[in-house]
Subunit: 346 residues, 4 copies
Amino acid sequence: MLVVMKRDATQAEIDQVVARVSELGLTAIPLPGTERTAIGTFGVAAQEAGEQLESMPGVQEIVYVSRPFKLSSREVRAEDTIVRIGGVEVGAGRPVAVMAGPCSVETREQTIATARAVHDAGATVLRGGAYKPSTSPYHFRGLGEPGLAILQEAGRAAGLPVVTEVLTPGDVDLVARHADCLQIGTRNSQNFSLLDAVGETRMPVLLKRGMSGTIEELLLSAEYILAKGNPQVILCERGIRTFEKYTRNTFDVSAIPLLKRLSHLPVIADPSHGTGKWYLVAPVALAAVAAGADGVIIEVHPSPDHALKDGFQSLTFENFAGLMRTLPGVARAVGRPVAAAAAVTA
Amino acid sequence: MLVVMKRDATQAEIDQVVARVSELGLTAIPLPGTERTAIGTFGVAAQEAGEQLESMPGVQEIVYVSRPFKLSSREVRAEDTIVRIGGVEVGAGRPVAVMAGPCSVETREQTIATARAVHDAGATVLRGGAYKPSTSPYHFRGLGEPGLAILQEAGRAAGLPVVTEVLTPGDVDLVARHADCLQIGTRNSQNFSLLDAVGETRMPVLLKRGMSGTIEELLLSAEYILAKGNPQVILCERGIRTFEKYTRNTFDVSAIPLLKRLSHLPVIADPSHGTGKWYLVAPVALAAVAAGADGVIIEVHPSPDHALKDGFQSLTFENFAGLMRTLPGVARAVGRPVAAAAAVTA
Amino acid sequence: MLVVMKRDATQAEIDQVVARVSELGLTAIPLPGTERTAIGTFGVAAQEAGEQLESMPGVQEIVYVSRPFKLSSREVRAEDTIVRIGGVEVGAGRPVAVMAGPCSVETREQTIATARAVHDAGATVLRGGAYKPSTSPYHFRGLGEPGLAILQEAGRAAGLPVVTEVLTPGDVDLVARHADCLQIGTRNSQNFSLLDAVGETRMPVLLKRGMSGTIEELLLSAEYILAKGNPQVILCERGIRTFEKYTRNTFDVSAIPLLKRLSHLPVIADPSHGTGKWYLVAPVALAAVAAGADGVIIEVHPSPDHALKDGFQSLTFENFAGLMRTLPGVARAVGRPVAAAAAVTA
Amino acid sequence: MLVVMKRDATQAEIDQVVARVSELGLTAIPLPGTERTAIGTFGVAAQEAGEQLESMPGVQEIVYVSRPFKLSSREVRAEDTIVRIGGVEVGAGRPVAVMAGPCSVETREQTIATARAVHDAGATVLRGGAYKPSTSPYHFRGLGEPGLAILQEAGRAAGLPVVTEVLTPGDVDLVARHADCLQIGTRNSQNFSLLDAVGETRMPVLLKRGMSGTIEELLLSAEYILAKGNPQVILCERGIRTFEKYTRNTFDVSAIPLLKRLSHLPVIADPSHGTGKWYLVAPVALAAVAAGADGVIIEVHPSPDHALKDGFQSLTFENFAGLMRTLPGVARAVGRPVAAAAAVTA
């Protein structure tokens, strides 16, 4: 943290800041310059300390230097973390994990059919929602507990582990009994009570970026989970909100190599929510793999035009299979092994 | 293109629009309905319906017309709603409600001193946080239950009702026992489990806009609370996230008149979080009142440079008192009565 | 500028950076810390220098300290600048300047009628467009030179000086002959050839913020004009582009007090483009004045529903007069004198 | 809600939509037109027309349906356009065009060395700036005309055609004499005088998206050039401005497949400006190719840490060559031929 003094700051003001920095348990080194004085501070500085200093007379601004995330940082842990969902390993150069399934569990038949179809096309994890966050209280909010049971059954039928969203701390135990990986959705990316709750489990967690969340905030949300002792966190880029109106969100493909540089945690991409248009899902999924993603999570529905939620961004079985024929080539081109599972059943 | 007429549009107005549409070389098909006439509208369509249609063969795109919020809409209820926090009425042309207090409850002394100072300067509600959402797990997260007790005591000591944030459904009952109004923070603006939970109380709720939330999403979040039978909702503009780096958020002053046009609910402004800089708080608070806000909520701290959280956006007692000397003149200039309470104790 | 080294940077890497900083003509002061070393640099550092250093081995990031704008900065010039448009003084506590008129000059009659109406309601400057930037090549792009002549005539008829937009360097002389103030629009906020060209005149310039421009970029664009020797620059907040869809732009009211703190130049508000909805113009104009604006610029049209451009954000004569009845009270409440001109003709 | 059918929709498809609309409880009114059938559409409405209607008494809002771009639209021209830069063809499934070179022309030696290096690694076009837009008037603004001559010489020496930016209408002729393709930068994306001027040449134009420009605005800017009779336009995604601070811009990878769906014009990617960090350039370039880009444009510098501008986002010769070894594999994986030139001359 660097305290930049105003051009006309007095020596007394500078002395006061130096004294206050010491009070805060930090070391202060004044740096007189041609235009103004700055005061370097060293030690572990909470943001609050900076905010206090920023209010002092003569201070112009505070410049933060140290990164606020620790456990998720590659500086703290250099080797890639591998997260295990059932038998599937994600991260650390493992084959690209393909998680696919319906946005929402609607019926037993739809879910089992989709699970089998995505498995046969090469997916290694089944995704699906039993609890759905919905902007409007008048829209479909998921089947709830019966949906969890259907999803679990479908996963077993197709031989795929299951990832599904949990919305509130009170549901964590229930969802954990039916799933192999807990998903934290974009609207809960800063629901700290929920992050604490999944941090207390020993289940893998798929953590989505907030829809207006920064990279740093995503890593700090992961930090909540890690700090509770749960190291099994997968980061997920799913698009951010911008002014562009043609797409539902703007998929931030650069977040993938950036997160992998900053953190040792696996990083996957959600091109379904990231674009909101089925015809953009495949090209953006391929782009994510080319950029180094450890996996993708994709919405697939037997009949998207009858889906109860988000049909417009779901792939048909046929379109998903088409994507899965192209994806291994892109993965290989960037030096990534291809999942054996895909090869087996195809 | 679809031209939707107002409910109370006259036949002459409809005829003028039809004529004007023809002048422009377009074909007009008026569609008289039960609620209103539209020219070219096709009924109430849920988003899901549109999304299903959008996936059908041959379809290019769907254009939505109907507003998705109902109970919060001024079309459904024309008269302004008044929300009562303790004895303080907010909305419907009542005096500008001034809610003030520390960002976080830190100590009994700090809280009581602040409560008295803001009361004496003319505030009518005490604000303060016992549960604090914090981006980092390593930062101060509030005193919790002991903080609630301090806040309640400080409110009584100063004769002010209390508003404070609740973070998770499991805490709603506890917080409700200590407070007069429940606050839903920006990060929980789409925490639907929490919205349901406060909707089931009969407590007033202060609902903040999400940091990247649209006006429509804010009204839909209010809709969750209203749909559970709790009509006591205050909407709060608190700044949105943009590319600008000098300010913490961009305070959207136009949201105030826009929300008042779209909805019957009271609308207040939070210039402290909306700007993140203490020296911008007073001008933005005055701007909000000039734009028609029903109230403001402002962070005040006895010694901002020692605050445990958000000190840099807090006003000193002196700066707050200065703001309170200017605010009534602006309120009067836009035809708003001035709070009697302020006059009494000053 | 502070060069932050990586945690594991070697002494050799640190030495290389120190040597390079010296090569760049700056002074380097290494600051060993508990976690990492930082290197303070002092002297005039161009951004390019920082970018060069950022690529060196061992360097983690560069933190900029000095503000890049000079001539527009309040640190360089403490006293408020007054800009004179014809006989009207803007800035430095002068009465709120009200610039009003049609978006586009359409006909002589419309323009003269509007000029008289806005004058009679209290406006002190006539605005109007002869050259209109239009997103589509198929839309109305203004009358061009004949429009300039009409505008000049209308200004004379109503006794008001004129501000109008110039789009390209080749038109600066022509526009300058017909106008009292040159406007640089939002799409040209970083058209540096045009900024140079108006900087070479000695005409007042009304410079709009780019639609995605930061505060710093606005001040740097002003810097282009000032650096050419033209000190007569008015800064104009006109809304920025965000994800919100109800409004055309998000009017950043906090930019007004922020710009006045950072710079000595006058700051005005454009609530017409800033909101894009006529019914939001008056409340946002009043908000801007409450926040300390030195003026407002407002679109007024005799018959907005027949306007060739931007009718939906134009006020009728009646609505403008209504705003002008409320505005002086708000100005007075924040300690601002009221324009004598307004009083005279009202 | 308005359902617009594709041009080639069959009667059966129309009937299905009508039936589905009825199933959903809505009323459908098919409107067969000259170009296509819409279900509930009302003709081609200019934005002005809508804005006029929107101001009329009794009207609530206008919903736009028609796309405002014509000549750039794939509906008007179904076949892909091929743009020719010197002998290099871009678009229509031609090999991925790789344009590379220094951000700015600094010296003859640097430019020729870079031209040769990028040619040898497989680039097919030389890029470089002689006129540089710079946010600050105190920064390097390019060598100007001498820079053009150097660039032309370097292109000839390496056997590469040249693309370079033009900033103002007065320079178009001069730049056109030295270059094979004119670049319109992000800050001039809505400089309509400049778009008109390059539209009047018969030179290929590389048009960058505005830094806060929508997809629709980019296509409308292209429309300006096409409407002047110049069909040789390449669209370029170069990142948009968002709240994220780690990257200079957020590269919108979904814009690539979206633009290719909406328009027949070639689409290329600029990962250098799109990310602003050299270590993100290669992964994002590969992502763009995987998403279907017709080319990439990349900054390369012999010694990025000595570059006068944008060194931090430039690749070294070695890093560029590394990218060029991976890129063909990704191109092949998505069914794209690989440039023969690259293989031949290396």
